[in-house]
Symmetry: C2
C-alpha cells in the first residue's frame, strides 16, 4: 500500500459512499428509490458535475492508475455481492410449489417484453443502435432488458400494501423470480459475446451451453451440496453465522470467476450462487440480513455512484427515446403479466394489479443497463432511457396497485374496527398451549368449532397446506395463518396469544406471540386483502401488541383491538420486512 494511492483511494471511496448514502436517503424522503440518489452522486462528482466545475479537483480525486484500480477492486466485489443478494431473495421452493399458474404468467411476462424489444429494436434510428449490422441482436437484448423485474421493489410494494402474504402477492413474487432467473441468464450470455460489437454463432452457442450448464450445476447438485455443508456448519451454533458468511462470499467469488472464465459476465455467478444459497432453509434470516445490510449500505452505493461517474446524463437525455422505451416496457409487461394472470383465473382488476406490480424494474434494471453500457452494448442515450424507465415503472407500481386493489377507500377500504369485530364473532385463546406453528393452528381451528362446525377439519387442512407453501409469520411478534375454505360465506378469525412465542418462520426470525387464524370464503380476493390488512394493522405498533398480550378474556382482547384500531386509523397499512428494503 503506497501512501499517496491509499490516501486518494480512501478519500474518494469515503466521499462517494457518503454522498451516495446522503442523496439516497434524500431520494427516499421524496418517495424515490435509493438508487436514484446514488446515481445522482455519480453525476455530481463525475463527468456531469465536478469535472466541469473543478476539473483539477476531479483529476486529483479520481486519477487513472492505482487508485482507480483499487476502486475497481471494491466495485467488482460490490457488484458480485449485489447479485448474490438479489439471488438470495429468489425462493425456488415457492416457484416449485406454485409453479403451474406462475409458469404461464412468467412465460407471457418474458415473451411480451421480448416482442416489445423487437418492436423497439426496429423502431429506433440507426444512431441509437451500437452496431447497426446486428440490429436483430440489439432488439433481442432490449427484450431481455425489458423482461427483468425488481424483486426488492416488487416485494416492498406488496408489503406496503399488506399484500405480501396474499395469493395475488405470492403469484407476483413467483413470476418475478422466474423472470429474473431466466432474464439474468440470457443477459449474461448475450453480454459476453456482444462485447466486441459483433457476435459469432459458434461462440454464442458455446456460451449458452456453458452458462446454462453452470446454472443447472449450481441449482441442482450444487444446491444440495450447499444445503449439506450448511447443515454441517449449523451444528456448531455459535460460530455458524460467521462461517456461513465466509462460505457465501467464497462461493460467490469463485462462481463469479467461473462465469467470467466461460465468457459470461461475473454477475451471473453471483446471482446463481445467491439463488442456490437462498433456497436452503438452513440459511438463517439473521445471516441474510447481515449480508443484505452490508451490501446495501457499504458496497452497492459505491458501485452505482462510481459507474455513473462517467455518464453525462444531461447531454444524453433523449425525451422521445425515454418515452418510447417507457411505453413499450410498460405495455409489454402489462399485456404479458396481466393477461397471464387473467388466464389463470384471477379477476381483471387483480390481474392488472399483478401486471403493474411486475412492471417495477428498479435497481436491477439500472444495474443491467450499467453493465451493458460498460460493455459498450448500448450507448449513453439508451442507457439514460433505460434508467428513466426503471425509475418511472418503480414509482408507478405502488399507487396503481393500491388504486386497483382498494378501489374505494371510503366503502370497500380498510375499516379499523374489522379486526375487533372479527375476533368478537370468532374465538380467543389467551394462552396457547402449543409450541409449534402446526399445533397452534390446530388449537385455534378447534376453538372455531362453535362458529363453523364441521368445516374445522377441511379448514385446518387448507391452512396447514398453505403454511407449508409460504409461512405466515409477519415479523414483530405476529403471524396470520390463513386459507380459503370451500363452504364458508364470510371471514372467521381465531386469536391466540403465546407469551413465549411460536416459530412461524418470520422474516425477522422472532417467534410469533400473537397468532390470528383467518379463514376466508373461496375466491374472495378483495376481502382477503382487506381483512389481512385490517388484522396486521390492528397490531401495527408495539404498544398495541403489548396491550393485547396482557388480555386474558375475549372482552379485553376485543377492547384492545378496537382501541388501537381506532387510534391508528388513517396511518398507512403495512408490515415491513427489513431484508427486502429497496436497494
Amino acid at each position: 500500500m503506497h501512501g499517496q494511492d491509499a490516501l486518494v483511494f480512501l478519500l474518494s471511496l469515503g466521499l462517494i459512499l457518503g454522498v451516495a448514502r446522503l442523496l439516497g436517503e434524500a431520494a427516499r424522503a421524496f418517495g424515490l428509490p435509493l438508487v436514484v440518489g446514488e446515481l445522482l452522486t455519480g453525476l455530481l462528482l463525475g463527468a456531469t458535475g465536478l469535472q466541469r466545475v473543478l476539473p483539477g479537483v476531479h483529476a486529483w480525486l479520481f486519477p487513472t492508475g492505482a487508485p482507480a484500480e483499487m476502486l475497481s477492486g471494491y466495485t467488482t466485489v460490490a457488484v458480485v455481492l449485489l447479485l448474490v443478494v438479489a439471488g438470495l431473495e429468489v425462493d425456488l421452493g415457492i416457484v416449485r410449489r406454485r409453479g403451474k399458474s406462475a409458469l404461464v404468467v412468467a412465460a407471457l411476462g418474458i415473451v411480451m417484453p421480448l416482442a416489445g424489444g423487437l418492436v423497439l429494436g426496429y423502431l429506433v434510428p440507426d444512431s441509437v443502435v451500437g452496431a447497426p449490422d446486428h440490429r436483430g441482436l440489439f432488439a433481442i437484448f432490449m427484450g431481455v432488458a425489458l423482461s427483468i423485474s425488481a424483486l426488492p421493489v416488487v416485494a416492498k410494494t406488496l408489503l406496503d400494501l399488506g399484500l405480501f402474504k396474499t395469493d395475488v402477492g405470492l403469484l407476483v413474487m413467483t413470476v418475478a423470480m422466474l423472470d429474473d432467473l431466466i432474464g439474468w441468464v440470457a443477459f449474461s450470455v448475450l453480454l459476453g459475446p456482444m462485447q466486441g460489437g459483433g457476435i459469432e454463432l459458434g461462440v454464442l452457442v458455446r456460451t449458452i451451453v456453458l452458462a446454462t450448464g453452470f446454472a443447472l450445476l449450481c441449482l441442482i447438485p450444487g444446491r444440495r451440496v450447499i444445503d449439506r455443508v450448511l447443515a454441517a456448519i449449523e451444528q456448531n451454533g455459535e460460530l455458524a453465522p460467521g462461517r456461513v458468511l465466509s462460505l457465501v462470499a467464497v462461493v460467490a467469488m469463485l462462481g463469479a470467476a467461473v462465469t467470467q472464465a466461460i465468457g459470461v459476465h461475473a454477475v451471473l455467478g453471483g446471482f446463481v450462487v445467491g439463488v442456490a444459497f437462498g433456497d436452503s432453509p438452513r440459511l438463517r434470516e439473521r445471516t441474510r440480513q447481515t449480508i443484505h445490510q452490508f451490501v446495501t449500505n457499504v458496497f452497492a452505493p459505491v458501485f452505482f455512484a462510481s459507474v455513473a461517474l462517467h455518464v453525462d446524463f444531461v447531454a444524453n437525455f433523449d425525451p422521445v427515446l425515454c418515452l418510447v422505451v417507457f411505453l413499450v416496457a410498460t405495455a409489454a409487461k402489462l399485456i404479458g403479466c396481466a393477461g397471464g394472470a387473467r388466464f389463470t383465473g384471477l379477476p381483471w382488476r387483480e390481474s392488472l394489479a399483478v401486471g403493474f406490480g411486475l412492471n417495477a424494474r428498479g435497481a436491477m434494471e439500472i444495474l443491467l443497463a450499467l453493465l451493458a453500457r460498460e460493455a459498450k452494448v448500448i450507448n449513453d442515450s439508451v442507457f439514460v432511457a433505460l434508467v428513466t424507465m426503471a425509475i418511472a415503472t418503480s414509482l408507478l407500481a405502488g399507487p396503481s396497485m393500491k388504486r386497483l386493489l382498494y378501489p374505494s377507500a371510503g366503502r370497500g377500504g380498510i375499516r379499523p374496527d374489522d379486526a375487533a369485530g372479527l375476533v368478537r364473532e370468532g374465538a380467543f385463546i389467551p394462552l396457547l398451549s402449543s409450541s409449534t406453528s402446526a399445533h397452534a393452528i390446530e388449537e385455534l381451528g378447534r376453538a372455531l368449532r362453535p362458529s363453523i362446525g364441521d368445516l374445522v377439519e377441511p379448514a385446518l387442512i387448507s391452512v396447514l397446506e398453505r403454511e407449508l407453501v409460504a409461512p405466515t409469520g409477519l415479523g414483530d411478534d405476529v403471524a396470520i395463518p390463513h386459507a380459503a375454505v370451500e363452504g364458508l360465506t364470510k371471514p372467521v378469525v381465531a386469536l391466540g396469544l403465546s407469551p413465549t412465542g411460536i416459530d412461524f418462520n418470520a422474516p425477522d426470525g422472532r417467534p410469533a406471540r400473537i397468532v390470528f387464524l383467518l379463514l376466508l370464503p373461496p375466491r374472495a380476493y378483495e376481502e382477503e386483502v382487506r381483512v389481512l390488512a385490517a388484522l396486521s394493522r390492528s397490531v401495527f405498533d408495539e404498544a398495541a401488541r403489548e396491550a393485547l398480550l396482557g388480555a386474558t378474556s375475549l372482552e379485553e382482547a376485543v377492547r384492545c383491538l378496537d382501541e388501537h384500531g381506532r387510534r391508528i386509523a388513517g396511518q398507512a397499512p403495512g408490515v415491513r420486512i427489513p431484508s427486502l428494503a429497496d436497494i
Copy 2:
C-alpha cells in the same frame, strides 16, 4: 472492469479467502488463534509455498498490475475496518469510571514494555536493526510494539474462564483498552516518519502534534457529534441499522484518509473512529455484530493472508531472536501489569492473573508487525519473532489464568450444587413485576431482607452502582447483577424470573428472563469468581433455562438448578459473547 483482470482478481480473492477461512478453522480446532491459519494461507499460496512449487501458477494467480491493485483496494478497506472493530471494543465509559486503579496498571503496562524494548534494542545485533544509526528509535518502536495487547483475545479468555464480569476481569479489560489506545497512537506516529529509514525531529514533532490533535478531536467533540447523529438516526428505528453501518464506514474511511494525509498510517483513523463510535450507547449490539462478522469473516482473513504472501517464514526464522523477544515481552508485561495490579490492592495471585491476561498479544500484534514490515521499519526476522511472540503469549494466557484463579479444582473449584444451595438459602421470585433492570434489582434485594436485614439498602446501592459501571446481562436470557457488600460474611443470592424479559444490556441484545442478584462479602475475589461461574453454569444450556423458567416455587427452582448443575458438572465453564470472538 476488464474481463481478464476481473477474472484473476475474483479467483485469487475467492481462493485466498476460502483457504484462509479453512485453515483458520483448523487452527481454532487445535486451540490456536484464527490468525495463525490465515497467516499459514499466505505461506502456502505465497513465497514460501506455491511460488517455489508452481511458479507459473503463482505468477498467473498473483500478477503485478491491475489485479494486484484491485486486491490492494480490498485489503486497504479490510485493514481500516479491522481497526474500526478493534476500536469499537474499547469502552471509554468503563475507562473513565474505573480510571484510578486502571491508570496505575496501564501506566506500568506501558512503561515496562518500553523499558523492555530499550533493553531489546540494545541487545540485538546490528543485522536485525533496520537502520543501525537509529538504534534508539528502533528500541522505542519495539517498546511500543510490546505494549500492544489483544483486546479480543483478552476478552475471550476472560469469558471462557467466567471472569468477564468480575472485578479482576473489568480491570484487565480497562487496562488493555488504555494500553491499546496509547500504543496505537504512538505506533502510527512513529511509523510515518520512520518509513524512510531515518527520522527528522521537526517532522516527528509535527506528526505527534497533528496525530494527537486528530485523536483528541475525534474523541472529545467528535464523539459527542457522533452520539447526536446516532440519536437522530435511531429515531427512524427500522432503517437505523443500515444507516449506522454506512455512517461508520464513511467516517472510518475519511478518518483513515485524514491520518494518511497528516503522515500517520491509515489504521489510526480507523481505530480512533471505532473508539468514538463504540463509546456511544446508541450503537446497537446488532450493528456492532454485523460489522464485526463481516470484517472477521470476509475482510480480515484476506488481509492477513495476502500480506503474508510475501514473507518467507522458513528462511527468516531465528530461534534465539524469537525466544528473546518472547521472554522480554512476557517479563515486561508481567512485571508492569501484575505489579500495578498488586499496587492497587489485588492479592498476588489475582495480580499475576491480570499480568498473564494482558500478556496476550494476538492478531493486533501481528497486524502491527505486518504494517511495520511493510513500511520497512523492521526486517523479516524481527517480523517472524513478533508473530511467534504474539501467538505464544496468546496461547499462554488462558491456562495460566485458570491455574492461578482456580488453584485446586478439587477443593476450591466450582461445585455444581453451589447455585442450588445459594438459592435455597436466599430468595426466589417466580414472576418479577418489574420491567426495568433497576426495579428488578430492587425487587430482588427487598426479597433478601429475611436473610440480610438492614444490609438490603447498602447492598442495593452497591449493586446499582456496579450495574451502571458495567451492565451484567450475560446473554442467553441470563443476568447476574452483583456487588460486594461491607458486613456480609458469605454470598447471598436472590433468583427472579421474568417471562417477558428485562433489558440488562446483554451482548446478544436479548432481555434477561432469569436474574440472579448476587451479594458478596468484600474483597472475596476467589469466591466471586467461583460463585459467578457456578450461577452462570447452572443455566448454561437452554434446556436448563427453559426448565427453570417453568418453576413456580422455591422448591421447584432449587430442584431445577440442582439437577442441571449435576448434569453439566465437568463441562467447561463460561458464557460466550460472539461479538468478541477472537480474530
